[in-house]
Symmetry: C2
Subunit: 346 residues, 2 copies
């Protein structure tokens, strides 16, 4: 069996961890980094490090994964354009926003061989020193496609994810990805940052910090990441994050209004107030139930298995609808059948 | 050396864990629970379980710790009133709001022997089955006092905390405690709940839940606790939580307004917008620095040690000012000297 050849651009936390996981999974992994500081230890881990992007492209990888910071993307795409054999190589990336990256890939004329990807893995650290192949344990990847994406390109990336990384995947369009990533990552980062700002602005900040236990620690952990990285992520997904922040501000204000009536001893909470609070504390129950179920031992084994037939035409829509139903692809059975686990919230 | 006699009312997560920790520390621990389900395993752990509050009070404990739910407080205080030997026994509690409990204690006429307490420990579980003495490892307690509190009552509770639990403490008035607890616990619980509500209301909820990684998991963990407990906690501290939710809504709206300009490709972000974002992402830096320092190995050993002389008059104010400076009492050196670690944010 021929080893898949995977090239990694950028040996930071995400790229370094992926490179090391793919080496462990028997791939031939080459890498280029904007400086050669990680090269000695990376080579010791079995990663073949290249001095230039040209040398990396020369290996004719099956998949080339861009793990560089988003702000370096246009420059790196421009440099790669004349170097890549687009027939052999499928280009992908791991950026946390997908619409913007596809626009950049299109602008440079590499969209014919491009499939977007976003592994849901990471922590508050960064850099090669923090890389760890177990960062990807049980990870789910979003693969993003558009109506022009070739099925074979999708499969090149999907096979790397399910067969080599041992991970799950869902297929999305860029807009759906970016809206959902804003909800579960970008907006929460802003909230965590606002929380530590609120503490620092408080004259009793030392007392508050002293009293802070698990809930505060967990809810502000992401505010401890490099604020420049957070800011870039938020600004790159500005429209989606804006909508969600306004929704959240409305939800908080609604609770504040009810609490205002309750705090004012002259005014009893109205029946409407009580109903608002009933609703507020009940609305998220399907998510609580989903989390309780998914914490059970061997949850994955208890998920219903779904066999998805992938049509020739509009296969993108079939896979997006499957993702909306909460199905995660875990492997492929031949060319046009995906096996998925049903993991829906509701 | 005489064993301190500690009585615990309520063998839930907090009371059960405290009882077990105090047994391990060589105290004589008696307990009463509203039902006797925990009694067999509690007795096996060395806790002497009593069938009635009268039997508990008969042991003339040095400290009686109310670990019952807040809503049961008036009834339990009423039942204890004729039973307690107030000369021997100092009454305390572990409730997450302090002003309301003191009001209830005053209403029943037990304030002469009362000192408030709030251990910053807990998790998303509840009940005796979840109790664990290590829940209190490295915990900090807030002790709340007012101008009438007798110093010997304070020391009875403080000695249990530093000598027996091996924990740190700060001394506050009720209002300062409740404002700070609202900041680091009650308000964050509302935010986490609003976040899961936002997800459940989203038509792409299954996709969002699939993409959810560490940041979402950590920031919504507290929303998975019993929503009735969260609701009670929030409503009991309504005025403080209201203020903080409005502050947070304003912070989020401010970022949303800047993102609106950035998302609208027709409008460049103004210089004012850029400065707003600079400020937003820089304001919390002192807290990031504090956390980075406190994660260092042997942080506690590197904290400056402060010797606090506790005056006869207005000792409450001296200790509150020490808490504001970020000093945590770790032991006492004789009757009127406290040894504290300086752990300030800024």
């Amino acid at each position: 069996m021929v080893k898949p050849r995977i090239a990694i651009v950028g040996l930071g936390l995400i790229g370094g961890s992926l490179a090391r996981r793919l080496v462990n999974a028997g791939c031939e992994v080459t890498a280029w980094n904007h400086n050669d500081r990680p090269y000695a230890t990376a080579e010791a881990d079995g990663i073949i490090c290249k001095p230039t992007l040209a040398a990396l492209a020369e290996t004719k990888p099956n998949v080339l994964v861009l793990c560089n910071p988003l702000k370096a993307m246009p420059e790196i795409l421009g440099a790669l354009k004349p170097l890549i054999d687009t027939e052999t190589t499928t280009l992908t990336d791991v950026g946390s926003v997908k619409g913007m990256v596809r626009d950049q890939v299109k602008a440079i004329g590499l969209d014919g061989c491009y499939v977007g990807a976003h592994p849901m893995a990471g922590n508050e650290l960064s850099g090669w020193e923090a890389s760890d192949p177990t960062l990807y344990d049980d990870a789910l990847w979003a693969i993003t496609v558009d109506e022009h994406t070739e099925y074979r390109r999708f499969r090149a990336v999907a096979d790397m994810i399910v067969n080599r990384c041992g991970n799950r995947l869902i297929v999305l369009d860029d807009a759906t990805h970016d809206r959902c990533a804003a909800l579960i990552s970008h907006m929460p980062h802003v909230i965590a940052t606002a929380m530590i700002n609120e503490l620092v602005a408080n004259p009793n900040r030392n007392i508050a910090a002293a009293l802070a236990a698990g809930s505060w620690r967990d809810m502000t952990r992401v505010a401890l990441t490099d604020p420049n990285r957070t800011r870039a992520m938020v600004e790159e997904d500005a429209a989606n994050v804006e909508t969600l922040l306004r929704n959240m501000a409305n939800r908080l204000t609604l609770v504040a209004n009810v609490l205002h009536d309750m705090a004012d001893t002259g005014v009893r909470p109205t029946e409407g107030d009580v109903k608002q609070m009933d609703r507020f504390f009940a609305q998220g129950q399907p998510f609580r139930d989903y989390k309780a179920a998914s914490r059970q031992p061997e949850y994955a084994e208890h998920c219903a298995t779904v066999e998805l037939s992938i049509p020739e035409n509009d296969w993108q829509r079939t896979l997006l609808e499957s993702a909306r139903r909460g199905e995660h692809i875990v492997r492929f059975d031949g060319e046009r059948t995906a096996i998925a686990q049903a993991r829906s919230v509701v």
